[in-house]
Amino acid sequence: MSKKIVSEQDRRRKKAMIVFQVLLYSYLLGLFLFQLHLYSLSDW
Protein backbone atom coordinates (compact mmCIF):
# COMPACT_ATOMS: atom_id res chain seq x y z
CA MET A 1 0.00 0.00 0.00
CA SER A 2 2.65 2.49 1.04
CA LYS A 3 4.75 1.40 -1.95
CA LYS A 4 1.86 2.33 -4.22
CA ILE A 5 1.60 5.78 -2.63
CA VAL A 6 5.33 6.37 -3.03
CA SER A 7 5.34 5.30 -6.67
CA GLU A 8 2.34 7.53 -7.36
CA GLN A 9 4.17 10.41 -5.70
CA ASP A 10 7.28 9.60 -7.75
CA ARG A 11 5.26 9.53 -10.93
CA ARG A 12 3.77 12.95 -10.21
CA ARG A 13 7.16 14.33 -9.25
CA LYS A 14 8.68 13.12 -12.52
CA LYS A 15 5.80 14.65 -14.46
CA ALA A 16 6.25 17.99 -12.65
CA MET A 17 9.96 17.96 -13.47
CA ILE A 18 9.23 17.35 -17.15
CA VAL A 19 6.72 20.22 -17.23
CA PHE A 20 9.26 22.46 -15.47
CA GLN A 21 11.99 21.55 -17.97
CA VAL A 22 9.75 22.19 -20.97
CA LEU A 23 8.65 25.59 -19.60
CA LEU A 24 12.17 26.64 -18.72
CA TYR A 25 13.78 25.66 -22.01
CA SER A 26 10.92 27.32 -23.87
CA TYR A 27 11.55 30.50 -21.91
CA LEU A 28 15.26 30.41 -22.69
CA LEU A 29 14.59 29.72 -26.37
CA GLY A 30 12.07 32.58 -26.40
CA LEU A 31 14.56 34.99 -24.90
CA PHE A 32 17.24 33.90 -27.38
CA LEU A 33 14.87 34.39 -30.31
CA PHE A 34 13.84 37.79 -28.97
CA GLN A 35 17.49 38.84 -28.75
CA LEU A 36 17.98 37.66 -32.33
CA HIS A 37 14.96 39.77 -33.25
CA LEU A 38 16.61 42.80 -31.59
CA TYR A 39 19.79 41.96 -33.50
CA SER A 40 17.89 41.98 -36.79
CA LEU A 41 16.54 45.46 -36.02
CA SER A 42 19.82 47.05 -34.96
CA ASP A 43 23.15 47.69 -36.61
CA TRP A 44 25.25 45.58 -34.25
Binding site: K14, I18, Y27, L28, F32, Q35, Y39, S42, W44
Partner: protein, 234 residues
Protein backbone atom coordinates in the same frame (compact mmCIF):
# COMPACT_ATOMS: atom_id res chain seq x y z
CA UNK B 1 31.41 -17.82 14.71
CA UNK B 2 34.44 -18.31 12.51
CA UNK B 3 32.21 -18.02 9.45
CA UNK B 4 30.72 -14.77 10.72
CA UNK B 5 34.22 -13.33 11.22
CA UNK B 6 35.16 -14.38 7.70
CA UNK B 7 32.08 -12.78 6.22
CA UNK B 8 32.72 -9.51 8.02
CA UNK B 9 36.40 -9.73 7.16
CA UNK B 10 35.57 -10.05 3.48
CA UNK B 11 33.05 -7.22 3.77
CA UNK B 12 35.59 -4.95 5.45
CA UNK B 13 38.22 -5.80 2.84
CA UNK B 14 35.73 -4.99 0.07
CA UNK B 15 34.86 -1.70 1.75
CA UNK B 16 38.53 -0.76 2.13
CA UNK B 17 39.31 -1.68 -1.44
CA UNK B 18 36.32 0.33 -2.68
CA UNK B 19 37.37 3.36 -0.65
CA UNK B 20 40.90 3.19 -2.00
CA UNK B 21 39.72 2.84 -5.58
CA UNK B 22 37.35 5.79 -5.19
CA UNK B 23 40.07 8.00 -3.70
CA UNK B 24 42.52 7.01 -6.45
CA UNK B 25 39.99 8.05 -9.10
CA UNK B 26 39.00 11.18 -7.15
CA UNK B 27 42.60 12.40 -6.94
CA UNK B 28 42.77 12.58 -10.75
CA UNK B 29 39.32 14.10 -11.05
CA UNK B 30 40.02 16.71 -8.35
CA UNK B 31 43.29 17.66 -10.07
CA UNK B 32 41.55 17.93 -13.43
CA UNK B 33 38.66 19.92 -11.97
CA UNK B 34 40.99 22.37 -10.22
CA UNK B 35 42.71 23.06 -13.53
CA UNK B 36 39.42 23.33 -15.44
CA UNK B 37 38.01 25.62 -12.75
CA UNK B 38 40.69 28.18 -13.55
CA UNK B 39 39.37 28.54 -17.10
CA UNK B 40 42.76 29.35 -18.60
CA UNK B 41 44.25 25.93 -17.78
CA UNK B 42 41.05 24.05 -18.61
CA UNK B 43 42.43 22.20 -21.59
CA UNK B 44 45.09 20.55 -19.41
CA UNK B 45 42.53 19.52 -16.80
CA UNK B 46 40.19 17.67 -19.15
CA UNK B 47 42.40 14.59 -19.81
CA UNK B 48 43.21 14.28 -16.09
CA UNK B 49 39.50 14.33 -15.30
CA UNK B 50 38.70 11.72 -17.95
CA UNK B 51 41.47 9.46 -16.64
CA UNK B 52 39.96 9.63 -13.13
CA UNK B 53 36.51 8.95 -14.54
CA UNK B 54 37.86 5.94 -16.41
CA UNK B 55 39.47 4.67 -13.18
CA UNK B 56 36.14 4.96 -11.37
CA UNK B 57 34.30 3.13 -14.14
CA UNK B 58 36.90 0.34 -14.08
CA UNK B 59 36.48 0.02 -10.30
CA UNK B 60 32.70 -0.24 -10.71
CA UNK B 61 33.19 -2.90 -13.39
CA UNK B 62 35.43 -4.83 -11.02
CA UNK B 63 32.52 -4.99 -8.56
CA UNK B 64 33.73 -2.37 -6.06
CA UNK B 65 31.23 -0.05 -4.34
CA UNK B 66 32.08 3.31 -5.84
CA UNK B 67 29.94 6.44 -6.21
CA UNK B 68 27.20 6.35 -8.90
CA UNK B 69 28.50 7.78 -12.18
CA UNK B 70 25.73 10.37 -12.45
CA UNK B 71 26.58 11.75 -8.97
CA UNK B 72 30.24 12.03 -9.97
CA UNK B 73 29.39 13.85 -13.20
CA UNK B 74 26.91 16.28 -11.59
CA UNK B 75 29.20 16.96 -8.61
CA UNK B 76 32.31 17.77 -10.62
CA UNK B 77 30.39 19.70 -13.28
CA UNK B 78 28.88 21.90 -10.57
CA UNK B 79 32.32 22.48 -9.04
CA UNK B 80 33.68 23.59 -12.43
CA UNK B 81 30.63 25.78 -13.07
CA UNK B 82 30.90 27.47 -9.65
CA UNK B 83 34.68 27.90 -9.86
CA UNK B 84 34.60 29.44 -13.32
CA UNK B 85 31.93 31.92 -12.29
CA UNK B 86 33.45 32.76 -8.90
CA UNK B 87 37.00 33.08 -10.20
CA UNK B 88 36.10 35.04 -13.34
CA UNK B 89 33.86 37.43 -11.49
CA UNK B 90 36.24 37.79 -8.52
CA UNK B 91 38.93 38.82 -11.00
CA UNK B 92 36.57 41.31 -12.62
CA UNK B 93 35.83 42.73 -9.15
CA UNK B 94 39.21 42.75 -7.46
CA UNK B 95 41.90 42.07 -10.07
CA UNK B 96 40.46 43.95 -13.00
CA UNK B 97 43.74 45.71 -13.79
CA UNK B 98 45.85 42.55 -13.80
CA UNK B 99 47.38 41.66 -17.14
CA UNK B 100 45.67 38.25 -17.33
CA UNK B 101 42.27 39.87 -16.74
CA UNK B 102 42.78 42.68 -19.20
CA UNK B 103 43.80 40.19 -21.86
CA UNK B 104 41.37 37.34 -21.22
CA UNK B 105 38.24 38.98 -19.78
CA UNK B 106 38.12 41.94 -22.09
CA UNK B 107 39.28 39.69 -24.96
CA UNK B 108 36.37 37.38 -24.22
CA UNK B 109 34.12 40.47 -24.02
CA UNK B 110 35.22 41.66 -27.45
CA UNK B 111 34.05 38.36 -28.91
CA UNK B 112 30.93 37.47 -26.88
CA UNK B 113 29.77 40.20 -24.51
CA UNK B 114 30.33 43.95 -24.96
CA UNK B 115 29.58 44.48 -21.25
CA UNK B 116 33.09 43.18 -20.65
CA UNK B 117 34.67 45.17 -23.45
CA UNK B 118 33.24 48.63 -24.01
CA UNK B 119 34.45 51.10 -21.38
CA UNK B 120 36.11 48.25 -19.53
CA UNK B 121 37.79 49.38 -16.27
CA UNK B 122 36.10 52.77 -16.39
CA UNK B 123 33.33 52.11 -13.83
CA UNK B 124 33.12 54.56 -10.93
CA UNK B 125 30.83 54.64 -7.89
CA UNK B 126 30.68 58.28 -6.81
CA UNK B 127 34.30 59.22 -6.20
CA UNK B 128 35.43 55.58 -5.93
CA UNK B 129 37.05 53.80 -8.81
CA UNK B 130 35.64 50.30 -9.22
CA UNK B 131 36.83 49.18 -12.65
CA UNK B 132 35.99 45.95 -14.44
CA UNK B 133 32.76 45.44 -16.37
CA UNK B 134 30.68 48.58 -16.61
CA UNK B 135 27.48 47.02 -17.96
CA UNK B 136 24.36 48.09 -16.02
CA UNK B 137 23.61 45.76 -13.13
CA UNK B 138 26.59 43.51 -13.75
CA UNK B 139 28.48 44.26 -10.55
CA UNK B 140 25.39 43.61 -8.40
CA UNK B 141 24.94 40.22 -10.06
CA UNK B 142 28.62 39.41 -9.57
CA UNK B 143 28.65 40.15 -5.85
CA UNK B 144 25.29 38.63 -4.99
CA UNK B 145 25.82 35.45 -6.97
CA UNK B 146 29.36 34.78 -5.76
CA UNK B 147 28.26 35.21 -2.14
CA UNK B 148 24.78 33.70 -2.14
CA UNK B 149 24.89 31.18 -4.95
CA UNK B 150 28.23 29.97 -6.26
CA UNK B 151 30.14 29.57 -2.99
CA UNK B 152 27.34 27.58 -1.27
CA UNK B 153 26.98 25.65 -4.51
CA UNK B 154 30.66 24.72 -4.49
CA UNK B 155 30.35 23.44 -0.91
CA UNK B 156 27.15 21.56 -1.79
CA UNK B 157 28.85 19.82 -4.71
CA UNK B 158 31.68 18.67 -2.45
CA UNK B 159 29.07 17.34 0.02
CA UNK B 160 27.27 15.57 -2.84
CA UNK B 161 30.50 13.92 -3.97
CA UNK B 162 30.98 12.70 -0.40
CA UNK B 163 27.45 11.23 -0.64
CA UNK B 164 26.20 13.41 2.24
CA UNK B 165 22.52 14.23 2.63
CA UNK B 166 23.27 17.94 3.20
CA UNK B 167 25.17 17.96 -0.09
CA UNK B 168 22.14 16.67 -1.98
CA UNK B 169 19.78 19.06 -0.17
CA UNK B 170 21.96 22.14 -0.68
CA UNK B 171 22.54 21.28 -4.29
CA UNK B 172 18.76 21.23 -4.76
CA UNK B 173 18.53 24.65 -3.06
CA UNK B 174 21.25 26.19 -5.22
CA UNK B 175 19.92 24.55 -8.39
CA UNK B 176 16.62 26.34 -7.81
CA UNK B 177 18.64 29.54 -7.32
CA UNK B 178 19.86 28.84 -10.85
CA UNK B 179 16.33 29.59 -12.02
CA UNK B 180 16.56 33.13 -10.61
CA UNK B 181 20.05 33.49 -12.06
CA UNK B 182 19.02 32.50 -15.58
CA UNK B 183 15.77 34.43 -15.65
CA UNK B 184 17.16 37.59 -14.00
CA UNK B 185 20.59 37.73 -15.58
CA UNK B 186 19.31 37.11 -19.09
CA UNK B 187 16.51 39.64 -18.73
CA UNK B 188 19.08 42.19 -17.62
CA UNK B 189 21.19 41.35 -20.67
CA UNK B 190 18.17 41.67 -22.93
CA UNK B 191 17.12 45.06 -21.55
CA UNK B 192 20.67 46.32 -22.06
CA UNK B 193 21.25 44.42 -25.29
CA UNK B 194 22.55 47.59 -26.93
CA UNK B 195 25.41 47.64 -24.42
CA UNK B 196 26.07 43.92 -24.40
CA UNK B 197 25.88 43.08 -28.08
CA UNK B 198 26.91 46.22 -29.95
CA UNK B 199 29.96 45.89 -32.19
CA UNK B 200 31.31 42.61 -30.91
CA UNK B 201 32.45 39.66 -33.02
CA UNK B 202 29.55 37.24 -32.43
CA UNK B 203 26.49 39.17 -31.19
CA UNK B 204 23.73 37.18 -29.42
CA UNK B 205 24.39 33.66 -30.68
CA UNK B 206 28.04 33.73 -29.52
CA UNK B 207 27.04 34.40 -25.92
CA UNK B 208 24.37 31.72 -25.99
CA UNK B 209 26.66 29.05 -27.43
CA UNK B 210 29.32 29.91 -24.85
CA UNK B 211 27.02 30.15 -21.84
CA UNK B 212 24.43 27.47 -22.48
CA UNK B 213 26.79 25.01 -20.77
CA UNK B 214 25.96 26.72 -17.48
CA UNK B 215 22.46 25.24 -17.46
CA UNK B 216 23.76 22.39 -15.27
CA UNK B 217 21.23 23.23 -12.50
CA UNK B 218 18.28 22.40 -14.70
CA UNK B 219 19.85 19.22 -16.00
CA UNK B 220 20.59 18.09 -12.44
CA UNK B 221 17.23 18.93 -10.82
CA UNK B 222 15.19 15.99 -12.19
CA UNK B 223 17.81 13.55 -10.92
CA UNK B 224 18.20 15.26 -7.53
CA UNK B 225 14.43 15.29 -6.96
CA UNK B 226 13.77 11.68 -8.01
CA UNK B 227 16.85 9.86 -6.69
CA UNK B 228 16.39 7.55 -3.71
CA UNK B 229 17.64 9.91 -0.99
CA UNK B 230 18.60 6.99 1.24
CA UNK B 231 21.81 6.57 -0.77
CA UNK B 232 23.00 9.84 0.83
CA UNK B 233 24.05 9.60 4.48
CA UNK B 234 23.18 12.00 7.32
Amino acid sequence: MATTTNVFGAYNAHQDESKQAQWRADKWMIGGTLLMGTGVLGIFGLPLFFYGLWLQMQAAKAGLSVRPLIVTLIGYLVIIDSSLNSLGWAMDLFANHSLINRVLTSGWGAVFDGGYFWHYNELKMGPYTIGGAGAPGEKAWEISLILACFCPRLAAAIGLLQMKRWGQQWLIVTCWMGLIVWIGYNLNMTFYADVRYANITFPVWGWWIYDIFYITPFLALPYLHTVNREIFTD
